[in-house]
Symmetry: C2
Subunit: 456 residues, 2 copies
């Protein structure tokens, strides 16, 4: 039971840390500001991912615009925008120039591609928001870009300067937001993905990879509160020494059977517990928070699981809520009682006890997709427990603050304004001209654009 020798510790951790250190040296001044190309590279002889090299090919066949976003079901149909950005990498030649091009199927993916066999894949999820002032904003995209590097390194995919990814994400939105995100108070979802495309069947680090960024229509936020089914000891999401902290495909597929079981029993998501002690970790693919009153101190506490064991996703929403709560909720102001903001391990037994003693005030799940959603029921070992408040005031406050920031009601450095662009290339033939004309007709028919057209 002696600790492992220094030489053997953290094989994977050290690789991740070293890859990130190389890039973050040039990234630290870039957080929260517009991205600039980064010149440093972990493999100095090979080209880095470079957003300034982007080649742009505008679609000649724009998709029909879906006017009523409230009607779509995210994912149940293909609701991606007109364009995608892709970039290829090989271990021999580094990163090729990225391309913005018409959205479509992946070309040349072979049956033996590493991503289809060995799950060498990782992704990010973030949103672009059309503010009530007409501006498009993204929420802390630098955080997503930095986390994507952590994930890609963990899953043996190539490294890249996070600022380059951030710039590419913003460029896709700059091109597609004018048509696809016309309505103030709505958002579209952005999904950067990296996959190993090398055809090696031997289990090894892929020698080829591809980055792609797509954007998809997203439904109006569902504000229905959530019911959770606590996982059993026979079904766990992540473990220490694994990869629960990384946004890799391997964290999701294996959770689907439990998720389906939860839904068939009337619950929305699994509340993932860990260890025989039933540590509370995550709710579905979201982070999970409780607000309870401490029995000893009688103080209100906002509690969520810590990142130490690396079994919890380091959520951008999670981090932002903790920062907001620490800044705005720790002091008592007016009617709002202050609370302590705590990241610590806690068990389902503690949650049950708090509920039984009337101390469990609120609970919510938080993530990019479902934002901040109240949890009103948790089933654990045959018993359903409920927080006292179904739409608690702290949950609502935090949610409203975040919404204010992303939709531009509150000016905040977390919201990056996107400078939207038109079409960079001149139309070259009759089809292309007609395609652009059609796009203009669509925009003209859209009330959100009427003001702009009136000026021309």
């Amino acid at each position: 039971m002696s600790p492992p020798s220094a030489i053997q510790q953290s094989l994977t951790e050290s690789a991740v840390a070293s890859s990130i250190a190389v890039h973050n040296r040039t990234e630290t001044t870039n957080v929260g500001t517009a991205a600039v190309p980064v010149t440093s590279s972990s493999t100095p002889d090979l080209p880095e991912l470079d957003a300034s090299k982007l080649k742009i090919t505008i679609t000649k066949n724009p998709k029909p615009f879906i006017e009523d976003v409230s009607g779509i079901e995210w994912g149940n149909q293909d609701v991606c925008t007109d364009h995608m950005i892709t970039a290829k990498w090989t271990d021999a030649t580094g990163w090729e120039a990225p391309e913005l091009k018409p959205y479509g199927p992946l070309e040349d993916l072979m049956p033996t591609a590493s991503c289809l066999q060995y799950a060498t894949e990782c992704f990010e999820g973030l949103k672009a928001y059309r503010g009530y002032d007409g501006a498009v904003r993204m929420f802390r995209p630098n955080r997503n870009a930095a986390r994507m590097l952590i994930s890609s390194t963990r899953i043996a995919l190539p490294s890249f300067p996070p600022s380059a990814l951030e710039e590419l994400i913003k460029t896709l939105i700059a091109h597609d937001a004018p048509k696809w995100l016309p309505k103030p108070g709505t958002c579209i979802y952005v999904r950067p993905t990296m996959i190993g495309t090398g055809v090696a069947l031997g289990v090894q680090k892929p020698r080829e990879a591809r980055l792609f960024i797509v954007a998809a229509l997203f439904p109006i936020l569902d504000t229905k509160p959530m019911k959770l089914l606590a996982s059993s000891e026979n079904s766990i999401r992540a473990w220490p020494g694994g990869f629960g902290y990384a946004k890799v495909g391997a964290n999701y597929g294996p959770s689907l059977m439990a998720q389906k079981e939860a839904q068939s029993r009337g619950y929305d998501q699994i509340l993932w517990l860990f260890d025989k002690s039933c540590l509370v970790t995550e709710a579905g693919a979201s982070n999970f928070f409780v607000i309870w009153r401490n029995r000893e101190t009688n103080k209100l506490e906002l509690v969520t699981a810590p990142l130490d064991d690396k079994i919890i996703l380091n959520g951008v929403t999670r981090r932002s809520l903790l920062e907001l709560a620490r800044a705005r909720l720790t002091g008592t102001e007016g009617e709002i009682e202050g609370l302590d903001v705590i990241e610590r391990k806690y068990t389902m037994h503690e949650v049950v006890e708090a509920a039984q003693e009337g101390r469990l005030i609120e609970a919510f799940a938080a993530g990019t997709a479902y934002f901040v959603t109240s949890v009103i029921d948790i089933h654990f070992r045959g018993v359903d427990i409920q927080p006292l408040e179904k739409a608690g005031k702290y949950t609502l406050l935090l949610k409203n603050w975040l919404q204010g920031i992303v939709y531009g009601k509150e000016r905040h450095e977390w919201a990056h304004t996107i400078k939207e662009v038109g079409f960079k290339s001149e139309p070259q033939d009759e089809d292309e001209i007609e395609a652009l004309a059609q796009k203009i007709r669509e925009m003209k028919s859209n009330p959100a654009w009427s003001a702009a057209f009136a000026r021309v």
Copy 2:
């Protein structure tokens, strides 16, 4: 610490068990014999995967044959055969008729495909062997087909009758072995894969999926013994309640960084340990065995980790070696001392102790890809330990028995003989006729076919 209530136990396990029970009811009489279409279905209204519906399209552009198999590096180049078998599934229409068609990239895989985002993917690995008697054999393909159903169910992919998959596997080999497996004493590798292709971005069970089966040239078996680096506490392959027992992509990608680190330090594979007690589990993607002398009883023991906790892959080679050892090595015969065959949890500390006391006789890794390979060195916490024998007699005996079976020296029910077929369709145009003529020229130039041509 009380056990979970019955209602919450085994969400995932029960789903797996139920899916498998449905299919195995009709499968039990089918083990070890040629596959026949199965009519029962877990979704009675939708078409099942049905090998008898196979549509066949022979390639018009056969690939150049690689004469010298010893020169290829498995996976470092694309060395797949001329054809692949694919079959599409949707939750609305069930399984479409499978197709045998020219090997090539996957069509229409969208960027948001579930397999690229959430690792909804699983695979199998098995081989076809050209015997010294000229016949092609596969080793227990029914076992691989049955395990594929366990894996697909675990990763939320559709179910299918294992006998249908077995038949499809055999059909691909029946078509491609004549050209691609000409030389007695060699093998080609077969890789059935299932992927989720539904475009839903919501984390959910994929509504579309694809099965494909490809075959690839495999190098002459490397008999170089193996050196292993024991994993640290910070790097863990699998966990109870996870999916270590299933052949899903999610078990492989996350292991690559540790694997790369091992190789950069001069070792071939990671020896995966589990728990603070350092339980020995697997070696790379192979099962792991030790042969040691029990200190108390002074008896020789063949020991490998048990399947109980579901963190170990239920290897076909593992199972076969255990069965052979139980049948042939437990009694003392001539010069060969009998040994006890034991599946039990054992720790790295026990292995180290046995080595220090001169009781660690042999160690080997076993799996389809690397067959049975001696392990001559294990690095654990700063110390390298070695079994007494570098090419131990028990390891060699087991390996030779298996090789005898797959190459037809020993008649055994585990070896399924494949009836090779020619081209089922008539050539239709000049190009096709010339392609077939070229194929015949290649076969004529190959010594392995001379006897057959002499008869015609």
